[in-house]
Amino acid sequence: MTNEELKIAVSALFPSVTYDETGEYLTVLISPAELSPLMNGLRSNGDLSFDYLFCLTAVDWKTHLTLVYHLQSKVHRHVLVVKAKITDIANPVIETVSDIWQTANFHEREVYDLFGITFTRHPDMRRILLDESWEGYPLRKNYVDENMIEI
């Protein structure tokens, strides 16, 4: 499907989404509360059929955090990007997608480890790359560490 057809198909299922077409891929913007129905729909709908989640990450914009999901369909070969904006940076929470795509299990643990975003209903929510006793979330822009030698 082309980007135009994708927009029509996604809007038919979820009228409340907005789009950002400045980048290379079509980007869908959604609020964190509505993430789970959108992701379930994208996976299960036969025309969309996004069965391959190839990148799950977060970006810290200082006033808010954005979760970015890159999805592809192996059947139809189209690519879609979903972004969810979390405004509560003191206590960021969002729902997991690891029951839809099993690769999200490790990726969400990494996002929790480095950004501090908690994923509800995740089967194993703990740090993956750093020690269990590490304090702080290193990839945040306000991370301070006296052991880090900065240029």
């Binding site: 991370y143 560490d145 880090m148 030698i149």
Partner: protein, 176 residues
Amino acid sequence: MAETEKMIFPAQLHQTADGGIVVSKLDEMINWARSNSLWPLVFGTSCCAIEMMSAADAKYDWSRFGFEVARATPRQADLIIVAGTIVMKMAPVLKRLYDQMPDPKYVIAMGACTISGGPFFYNTYSVVKGVDHVIPVDVYIPGCPPRPEALLHALITLQEKIKHETYFGKSKETGK
């Protein structure tokens, strides 16, 4: 005057009627035996481990110098070649491995990451900036990664360092 011959190990052979007498210093014999049969521990964390494997293969061949038998367990190893970056999560593991090795044990720090943190010195939160913060090091090899010949040079340097050790009598350096 008894005849003496040059031997392949550090000793002198005095010919006598039936065979001969070998005379040597015990320090030299022990050092010769120890330096020519150092068994390294299989330990490699990142890219330098590939160059260490290249030093073990047929082209560079460290088994010419006696390092062939790489042990998997620290209880049977004499030498640990720290090949690769050490991060804060790995440092206690390295210390435990070093403690499990029996004396005499030696450490070679291979690569820039083990000397000082290397290319990961600035703006990293998890890298130990030099493995000598964790265990004492005998030989340092600069490079990122160092060539296998550099590793062989380090092994020979370690052998020469071992040949200066003393177990009996006065030490050459300190005089004690």
